[in-house]
Structure formats: C-alpha cells, structure tokens
C-alpha cells in the first residue's frame, strides 16, 4: 500500500511546477489530497495493527546483497506515518498561503513532496539499506528546503550546515547498518526482531551502537549536534513547521525506538541515550528562554523536546516509552501549530521579534484561538493532550529505581521553560499590550490559520478522548518498541497526587519565568562569550580546516601541467602495486611461452625500432607517424591471434587519431626541447619502470588466466545471448553494464573537450 503512495508523491514532485502553473492557487489544496488519502488508508488498517499483525510487503531489488524493497508497518511506523501524512496535509495547504505569489512556489511543492515521499519510505522501510536511502533523501530534501531562498547567504550556509551534520551522521548510520548486516546476515528489521539477543551479544555491539547513535543524534539535533536546527530556521516557515519540528527531526527518535528491541536494554544504551537526552533537554531549554525571535524560540524548545523524548527512550521502562510516544504526538501537534502561527504573524506583521509584538487578538482572533490552544497544550493544561503527556513524563521519571530525583528535577526545569516559551509565543503576542507592528495586520486567508486550528483542536479532542487514542495508536506503538504486547490505558484525570502537584508547580514557575524574561535576556547577553566555545565554533573551525587542506591538496595535485598530472598518476600507480608485485614474482616461473614465429619477431622488432624513432623524433608529424606504425603493428598482432574485432578497432582508432592530430597540430607551438637533461632522464626511468610494470601485469593476468572463463563465453554466447561473435556479445550483453558505463564516461569526456575548446576561443575574444 505505502509503496504506491511513495511513487505517487515522487511523480507529483516531478510535475508539481507545471501543476502550479496550471491551477496556481488551488495547488496546495489539490496536492494535500495525497497525504490525506494516505492518512485515511492508514486509519483503515489500525484494527489489523492493533491485533498485532503488521503489514508486510516485499519486492526483490539486489537479492545477491540481501537488499530488497521491503516495507513493514507495525504500531510504531503507523503512528509516525500518520503524523507525517496528517500534518503534511495542512503544511501543503499552509505553504500555498504563506508563499502566495512566490515565483518558485511550484518548485517548493516539488521539494516538499520529495521530502514527504522520503519520510514515508524511511518510516515504512523494513530493509535497513532501503531505510538508509530514504534517510539520506530526507537530508537532501531538507537541504533544498532550508536553502530555498538561495539568494540569501545565511540560507545557503544553514542548508549546507544541516546537510553536512546530518550527512556525516548518515554515513555513520550506513557503517552501522553494514556492521549489523555482517553480524546477522540480514538487513531486514523484521528478521532482526526474531533474533533479539544476536546483536547485543556480538563483539561489534559497541561500534554498532555508537554509529547508530551518531546517525540518530545528528538527525534529531541532540547536543552537541543540536546547533544545525536553530540555523535551519532560515527555511520558509512551512518547512520549519514540518521538517524541523514535527517530522524529520523525529527520524532519529524513530530510529532509536525502532532499534530498541534489538540494541536496547544494555547499560551502554541506557547510559548514553539518557545522558545525551537529558543534556539536550537542558541545553535546549536554557537557550530557548533568552531568544526573542519567534522561530528561534520554537527551534530551541524543539531541541529541548527532542532531548526529552530521547531521555525517555533511554530510560527504557514501559512507563517511559509510553510517555515518550504520547509526548511525541503532543509535541508534533502543538509545535506544528505554533510554527504555523509564528509564520502567520510574520506574514501579517512583518516581524518575528517578540519584543515588538502585542495586541494581535483584535486583528487576528482566529489565529489567536489556535495559538492559545496550542500554547495551553504545550504548557500542559488539562484537558489538553499536553497535560497527559507531561503527567506521564513525570510519572515515568519518578518511578525510576535510580537517580529519579535528579532526572525529575531536570525534567521540571525543562518543562518550566516550555511553559514560558508557550506564553511568549502563543499568548503574549495576542494578549500583551498594543504595540506598533500590529497596525496593518489582519487575519490571513483560511489556508494560513486552518492547519494551526485543526492541529490545536486535535490536541484538545485527543485529550478528551485519550482512552481511544491510547488503545488504538499508543498501545501498538509501545508494544512495538517494547517487543511485547503492552496495553495502555490513558486517563486524563488521576486525582491529586505528587505528579499533579509537580504539574501545578511547573505551570506557576513557568509563569514566573515569563515575567523574569527581560532580566534573563540581559543576563544571557553578558554570557554571550560562552558561545565561542560552543559546537557552532567547532563546526566552523573544522569546516575551514577541511577547506584549507582541500585547497592545498588541489594546488599540489592539479597544478595545471599535463606533464605533472601524468607523472603523479604513474608514480602513484607504481607505488600502489609495486610492493605486492615485488614480493610475488614466482608466477613468472610458471609462464610458458609458446613457439614464437619469425613474423612475430619481425613485428616485435618493427615496434621496438619505431619506439626509438618516436623518442628521437625532431618533428611532431614524424613522431605521430611513427606512433601510427606502432599502432598498426599491434593491430597486426591482434590479427595473428585471431582477434579481428580488436584489430579493426585498433586500426580505426589509429586512423582517427591521425585525423584528430592534424587538427590539433596547428594549435601547438613550434617543436622544441625545453626540458633539462636531468628531468628527461627521470622521466625515462619512470617510463621504463611503468612499462615493466605493465608487462608484468599482463603476464600476471596470463598466469591467473582461467580457461573456464573463455569456455563459458564460448558455450553460452550463442545459447544464452544468441550471438556468435563472443567479443560483441560480451560488450552488449554479458558485460553491458561496463559498456554503458564506458560510453557514459566517454560522453562526459567529449563534453569536457568541447567545453575546454570553447572556453579557450571565448577567452581569445
């Protein structure tokens, strides 16, 4: 089922720009039908998933490497898919309103759909390699989306930063996946689930774990890799709302949750994941509270929320996983809504600076209601879903056997900041005193508030009907992570207990922090020198160093002299092979040369003589003619050994070379000997060494020559490929992939020659 939606999204991504030209303003609404349809069909399979029968579909791809196009939807992937497709509906609609009239809106839809397809694939993939492909595709589409306003330098830099950080993590993930494949012989997650202890007991467990963490932590913006996420706010707001809060950054969390049954449960897992999560939670919270830009406020609070979820996954108790899943839903709903609200405010007032915003309730009442609901959910007010989420988090933390006080206190701190951010973003701009920027603002088009409104209302309804949510979506997801059937009973009201008291405390302290926000900002201004030591500066320094080394390296290797290029290539090849060659020369003894006929000696003699003619030649034409004689002599040798195809090709190539040379010769300067005798001697030595090396190489291939190979081609070329000319059959059938590669390279080379020649003539003008 899911594969058709992925294909449809990719196809729509291809035609989106034309579709936009055709129906312009309605495009977002039309495109939104696709994720809506996926949401519908996902809801329709909920009963199956609840009974514990995951959806499984597999197509063969590269079966020799155990790579298949296999998809697997269980409770966990269903929940994530539902979030991605459900929120995607409103983002597509919202983008139409937010970027109305933008000349590249069609392209924007393309990128968004590409991302959506990638995300669906990532979440539904059963094969880890397939998942990796989609994982990388989300990084690439995120790059395109962050850099959408590519005329602005900070957009480009932010896009590159996100790509480099998540791309490096992606490479680590690939290494982890390969190790997993080596250990267990399969890449299918569903197969790994049947052998839970295998990876943990292998000696590669720790490397796998660390590499997986690098992948997950970079993607989900965990400290110290969190810095790319606030920078990514250079993207248009629909992107921030979708990729960088509600969906893509959750991919790392999905990965952790997905692999918990096969990698989790050990001390290493527990320590690293929960420590990183806690650190991120605090870093995000501290950074968030002092921001004044709506989007940066939300971005840092997203970092904090992601840390909270990672921490909960690291704790890995039934309670904490339940809390993680619920909070994941809560966060996606309110954060998506608040980002859309922030975008609408920016769109209407032209500013995102919270110190300039106020009194918008009079001009944007609908947005105010949506924002208020989302903010209440974010602060954890009953009866919204956010309240249940926060209660569960506290409950999970207080039930911990060890360190529960410490973990609980950090959690309360982070949640206090959450309350403050919720007030700053969702309440204050509307209810605070009237300020200047609200003058010309008015309520936006429905597309601008619909998404935020619906997501907020879902947050409310889900809180009221939490029992249904718990039974139908959260139990299957928690069961998938815990690898055992877990039934979840979500309740809104637990009575007055320690957890509830903590909630009350959180809300009041959060409000207190809100009133102290100006003082906190002043304090932060004094501490800004701390940023010098932060990960952003590590990133910049390592990027600069890499570029510097690349620059030096390129100057060294590509200095523009053809002579030194050839020298470098030859010397490098010699160094690379000589060691193993010199040690393994015994094969020379096994080689038996057949009888050599007089005419063969003759040809060899001719070749040798003309080699000297080439070297001693004092004119270019003479040299080329002598080279031609050598080429034709080699063609003759091909004829002696009954290889007509090779001989014909050799003769044709020689002929065309002469024609090419005739055109080139006019461009060349007068022939002269410019190099010093010393360097000529050096070149001669290297040339002789390389010639000897090539001769040895050919002899070596003779010694490992296997008659079964030519037998195979002799026997099968007619039976299987219906051709009697074995050479041609190899070229166009048995090894057609090589040929395809060769003609592609040749084409690229020809275009290169063309470009070089044209470039030169342009410079002359």
């Amino acid at each position: 089922m899911i594969e058709y939606f992925i294909i449809a999204a990719l196809l729509l991504a291809l035609i989106a720009p034309w579709l936009y030209r055709l129906i312009s303003r309605k495009t977002g609404w039309v495109l939104a039908l696709l994720p809506a349809a996926l949401s519908g069909s996902l809801i329709s399979i909920i009963p199956d998933i609840m009974q514990g029968t995951p959806l499984h579909q597999s197509y063969s791809w590269i079966s020799s490497l155990n790579i298949s196009l296999s998809f697997y939807i269980d409770g966990l992937s269903l929940l994530f898919l539902l979030l991605v497709s459900g929120i995607g509906v409103f983002i597509l609609i919202y983008a139409g309103g937010y970027l109305k009239g933008h000349p590249l809106l069609g392209r924007f839809y393309s990128y968004l759909l590409l991302f959506m397809a990638a995300m669906w694939g990532l979440l539904a993939a059963d094969n880890l390699i397939l998942m990796f492909v989609f994982w990388e595709l989300t990084s690439i589409s995120s790059y395109l989306l962050i850099g959408f306003n590519h005329e602005q330098e900070n957009s480009r830099q932010a896009a590159l930063q996100a790509l480099l950080v998540t791309g490096a993590g992606g490479l680590a993930l690939l290494a982890a996946i390969i190790l997993i494949g080596m250990v267990s012989g399969t890449y299918d997650i569903s197969v790994l689930f049947t052998r839970p202890a295998e990876l943990i007991s292998s000696r590669f467990y720790l490397p796998i774990l660390i590499l997986v963490f690098l992948g997950a932590f970079t993607k989900s913006a965990q400290t110290p890799f969190h810095f790319w996420l606030p920078s990514a706010m250079a993207a248009p707001t629909p992107v921030s709302a979708y990729l960088h809060s509600a969906t893509m950054v959750k991919a790392g969390i999905y990965l952790l949750a997905r692999l918990t049954p096969v990698l989790g449960g050990t001390d290493e897992w527990h320590m690293i994941v929960s420590f990183t999560g806690a650190l991120t939670m605090l870093t995000g919270a501290i950074m968030a509270i002092v921001q004044t830009d709506l989007k940066r406020l939300l971005a840092y609070s997203t970092v904090s929320a992601l840390g909270t979820i990672v921490l909960l996954i690291g704790l890995n108790t039934a309670m904490s996983i339940k809390a993680a899943i619920v909070f994941l839903i809560v966060h996606s709903l309110y954060k998506g809504a608040l980002f859309m609200v922030a975008g609408s405010i920016d769109h209407e007032t032209g500013t995102r600076d919270v110190t300039c915003l106020g009194g918008l309730i009079r001009v944007m009442p609908i947005t105010a209601i949506a924002a208020g609901l989302a903010a209440l959910s974010m602060s954890g007010f009953p009866p919204l879903l956010g309240f249940i989420g926060k209660e569960l988090i506290y409950e999970a933390k207080m039930q911990l056997p060890t360190l529960s006080i410490f973990v609980t206190i950090t959690g309360v701190l982070a949640n206090m900041v959450n309350v403050t951010v919720a007030i700053i973003v969702g309440i204050a701009p509307f209810w605070d005193e009237h300020k200047i920027s609200a003058k010309n603002a008015h309520e936006g088009a429905p597309s601008l508030w619909l998404g935020a409104m619906i997501l907020s209302i879902i947050g409310l309804v889900a809180g009221l009907y939490s029992d249904i949510l718990g039974e139908q979506l959260i139990s299957p997801a928690v069961s998938a992570v815990r690898a055992e059937l877990t039934s979840i009973d979500l309740k809104l009201w637990h009575g007055i207990n320690p957890v509830f008291m903590l909630s009350v405390l959180t809300v009041f302290s959060g409000i207190g922090l809100f009133f102290a926000r100006h003082r906190l900002r002043i304090l932060a201004g004094k501490l800004s020198w701390l940023a010098m030591a932060g990960p952003t500066s590590w990133y910049q320094r390592s990027l600069q160093t890499t570029l510097k080394i690349a620059d030096r390296w390129t100057r060294l290797l590509q200095n523009g002299s053809l002579h030194s290029y050839i020298l470098i290539i030859i010397i490098f090849t010699l160094l690379l092979f000589s060691w193993s060659f010199v040690r393994n020369l015994e094969f020379l003894k096994t080689i038996r040369f057949g009888h050599i006929y007089a005419y063969e000696w003759l040809i060899a003699g001719v070749i040798l003589v003309f080699i000297f003619v080439v070297i001693r030649s004092r004119s270019r034409l003479g040299g080329v003619a002598a080279l031609g004689v050598i080429g034709y002599s080699i063609a003759l040798i091909f004829v002696f050994y009954s290889a007509p195809d090779l001989a014909i090709t050799q003769i044709l190539v020689e002929t065309l070379t002469v024609i090419l040379f005739v055109f080139v010769v006019y461009h060349l300067p007068r022939f002269d000997v410019l190099s010093a005798p010393k360097s000529r001697l050096r070149d001669a030595m290297i040339a002789i060494l390389f010639g000897a090396f090539m001769s040895l190489l050919v002899l070596k291939t003779l010694s490992i020559y296997h008659p079964s190979l030519s037998d195979f081609f002799g026997q099968n070329s007619y039976l299987k490929a219906y051709g009697k000319n074995v050479v041609n059959v190899i070229l166009v059938d048995f090894r057609a992939l090589d040929t395809l590669g060769e003609i592609t390279v040749l084409s690229a080379a020809a275009l290169g020659v063309y470009a070089l020649l044209k470039l030169k003539s342009k410079r002359k003008e």
């Binding site: 007509p644 195809d645 014909i648 090709t649 044709l652 190539v653 002929t655 065309l656 024609i659 090419l660 005739v662 055109f663 080139v664 006019y666 461009h667 490929a721 219906y722 051709g723 009697k724 000319n725 050479v727 041609n728 059959v729 070229l731 166009v732 059938d733 057609a736 992939l737 040929t739 395809l740 003609i743 592609t744 040749l746 084409s747 080379a749 020809a750 275009l751 020659v753 063309y754 020649l757 044209k758 030169k760 003539s761």
Partner: protein, 141 residues
C-alpha cells in the same frame, strides 16, 4: 588544402562508407563488427567531409548536432538496459523477439532484441563523440 579530386571522391565514398558502417553494426552480433567499430567508420566518413571541405559542410551533411546524437545514443542504450525491468526481469536481461531475414545481404537473419538496440546506442554515441571533438577542433583552428 583544397583538392578537387578529394572533394569529388568524398561524395562517392561517404555513402558507401556509411552503408558499410551500418552493415558492420548489424552483423556485429555474429561476425566481426558491432556498434563501436561501426560508429568509428561512420565518424570517419563525416571526417572525410571535414578534410575535403570543412566542418560546416560536414555539419550540414550530418543534419543533427553531435551532442544530440550522444544524448539519443545514451538514452537508447539505457532504455534497452531497463526495458527488461518492465517485463519483470532483472535489468539488462536481453529480450529477443522476431527476426528480419537478411540472407540476401549475406547476414543470415537479423534477430531483433534489446542487445541490438543497445549496440545501436553505442554506435550513435561513438559517432557523436568523435564528431563533436573533430568538428570543434576544426572550427577552432
């Protein structure tokens, strides 16, 4: 380098050479020949025009830009390689169907299949590449 003899001869040689190149292309599967060799011979034919006249005349005779030949050739090869996927087989599996009797050419019968299409792609790419370089070199000199 204006030679009336060469100009006159070129007009008669080129069609024969082109025909010969197609002959070599088609017989390649069973006898010496094939797309690469055929392509080189065809490129040689047009090079003759470049030598006898100049590149602009050769371009007129070719009628199609060499770049386009490269693109078409690559596409044909790629299509022939991927066609089998549509039939549920692994990519690059040869598909064969039907044949054209060419006994009167001394070719036996010409079997039709994706490898032939692939070879035609190679043929066009080789012509395109060679002529792109030769034309450009001549025009820049």
């Amino acid at each position: 380098m204006v030679s009336v003899l060469l100009k006159a001869a070129t007009r008669y040689i080129v069609p024969v050479q082109l025909l010969f190149s197609v002959y070599l292309l088609l017989r390649g599967h069973n006898l010496p020949g094939g797309g690469f060799i055929g392509g080189l011979i065809a490129a040689g034919a047009f090079s003759l025009y470049v030598i006898a006249y100049d590149a602009s005349v050769a371009r007129r005779k070719l009628r199609i830009r060499p770049q386009l030949l490269i693109i078409i050739g690559l596409l044909l090869s790629l299509i022939s390689a991927l066609l089998s996927v549509l039939f549920g087989k692994a990519a690059m599996t040869g598909l064969w169907d039907g044949s054209i009797p060419l006994h009167w050419l001394g070719l036996g019968s010409l079997k039709l299949g994706t490898p032939l299409l692939f070879d035609i792609g190679v043929y066009l790419v080789v012509i395109g590449i060679t002529l792109l370089i030769i034309f450009t070199l001549e025009e820049e000199s």
